[in-house]
Symmetry: C2
Subunit: 348 residues, 2 copies
């Protein structure tokens, strides 16, 4: 906070709250100054807040945690910063209404850089262990569900099995809506599991993540029922080479844009560039989508401790789609793949 010239900081974003003080509930506001941290929540969390939080004084607000936090700021600070990415226009109006007349104007100012997102972007050793555990659980879940991917089963049945294995093996939940997209539906990059039956011949894309100790995993594999046609086989091999090229590019000092380009240039050379309609990856941690973005023109350089996904794909509307995704930790010298599961085409 000293570096960012912040006198007092109001935190409202829940994943940031968990990161800073351990609280996992659904309503809270945190005031941080140079010498104190005061945490406000509501009566539903009286017991939980005491059990979970560390390094903060806990206050139970009978009405509004946000307003009580602002009343404390009004009484104890000259000005305060907030995160404009996570405060709504309506919340800012509420916050301002708690500041006394003379001080109100200019009391709250948006952080100039995303202080907490930047802290969270680089994981410490404890976090890296937890992320490796979450990824490993995801790997085991994938291997457990493989025998259940068969022609005639519906996409939701596969998702149900996958999520049951995840829970049974210890996941606290899924980190996003499970994607099971088969046959022509595999051309929908975000095709949530539907009641459609898996075809006799065709691709099935599984994109899923588990939550373990609060940390998210994320991986995608595209498997094949029956025998792939020559066009399918060629496209699969191209996506795999693009994915491997981007994984190889991940190391400290390389920019996110360069990693994206590593994948994109392979697909371009194969004439598939225009079917790769999204960015190459994203940071992952307490949330499924975090900084950095692995996308074109991103100039941020990778640092040890970042954990990112590498997930190029191609989508031919009405025909098929393919995506292959790993979770990668940036290390001192290069990277470590946290999802070492078979990537050559799995035929079922």
């Amino acid at each position: 906070m000293g570096d960012a010239e912040v006198e007092a900081l109001l935190v409202t974003n829940l994943p940031d709250m968990r990161y800073l003080c351990g609280f996992t509930g659904s309503n809270a506001a945190l005031v941080v100054t140079a010498n104190k941290a005061v945490f406000f929540t509501d009566g539903r969390y009286t017991t939980q807040a005491k059990e979970e939080t560390e390094g903060v004084r806990v206050v139970i607000s009978p009405k509004s945690a946000l307003k009580d936090a602002c009343a404390l700021l009004d009484a104890s600070a000259k000005r305060a910063s907030f995160d404009p990415e996570h405060v709504t226009v309506a919340q800012l109006a509420q916050m301002r209404s708690m500041i006394s007349g003379k001080k109100r104007r200019g009391f709250f100012s948006p952080l100039e850089s995303p202080l907490i997102a930047e802290m969270r972007m680089v994981k410490d050793a404890d976090e890296l262990k937890l992320m490796a555990k979450a990824a490993d659980l995801g790997n085991r879940v994938f291997n457990a569900v493989l025998p259940h991917i068969r022609s005639g089963a519906t996409e939701v049945e596969v998702a149900a099995g996958l999520e049951f294995f995840a829970r049974s093996m210890g996941a606290e939940g899924m980190s996003f809506d499970t994607i099971v997209a088969s046959g022509p539906r595999s051309a929908l990059p975000h095709g949530h599991a539907s009641r459609q039956k898996l075809p006799r011949n065709g691709f099935v894309t599984l994109d899923f993540g588990v939550i373990l100790n609060g940390y998210c995993s994320d991986m995608t594999r595209t498997v094949c029922l029956g025998k792939p046609g020559p066009g399918e086989r060629q496209a699969y091999d191209a996506v795999l080479r693009a994915q491997e090229a981007a994984v190889d590019a991940v190391r400290p000092g390389v920019t996110c844009g360069e990693v994206d380009e590593a994948a994109r240039s392979v697909l371009r050379k194969e004439g598939l560039g225009r079917y790769f309609t999204h960015s190459t990856g994203h940071g992952v941690g307490l949330e499924i989508h975090e900084q950095p973005r692995i996308a074109a023109e991103q100039t941020l350089a990778l640092k040890p401790g970042m954990v990112v996904t590498i997930e190029p794909g191609v989508y031919l509307a009405g025909k098929f789609g393919i995506r292959i995704e790993d979770m990668i930790a940036v290390t001192d010298r290069g990277n470590k793949v946290l999802t070492p599961v078979q990537k050559t085409l799995i035929g079922l």
Copy 2:
């Protein structure tokens, strides 16, 4: 929009997007004027946006759907409204940056009342059918999981079973993290399923919801393993009477505050008022928490078509907790309980 004196409206909130035009993806911006509706999303959703949306022109934005929507507004409107509850301070700055210099100041203004939330609060006949179906699926899931609630099983095993039944019976997902809180953990109103084993004697609170056709269900039952002690039995009966009193109060014209008071006064008379640490309920629909709030001092009057939860509870830290929750549709003359599952104490 005419009534609200809105010339053009920018919509960014995803559940509102689904409500207004059917899109279920994760990134979109919608511009609505008196005579057109233009929908912006990114390349991941090219196929899905065409399949899902209705009544809008679809534009695929190569970079930012939000910025492209604002460029259209700049070119075609004198001013525009946005929902301050769902636009962040950072988004507003981005939006403003797209408006040409002279017009920028004052171009965007916050809606004075939550136009779309108010529309969504009152469900039409089709929505009510979908909500009844979602609630009915939740009821069947509860009945299916009951035999699996036994001493020695872990809370997450119960949650895994519940979620597997939900998926297998057709749910698209769960509407929130499943709560399975047993023994002293039942005193945590929001105790997500943990690795703790269910006790030989004690309460188990299950609070869960399914998503079906996009609509959320929500119900809670507290069941008992072994024989309840006299204090537990008395508290359970008090919560049940409080819950039934609030359900009985639900009809058109009654205020949300009056419904809350109906539950609260019963628990107060039993000396349990201070253990009822949250509000009585909330609206439910495409999102698990919608308007109205069933809470103290809420002056909004219920109307036919609203769907709300009624869920009083008591929480004695370190001892036990109890919550009973139904989903209720307000009808022309009274109400209809959408979760008619046994509420007298279920002993297992």
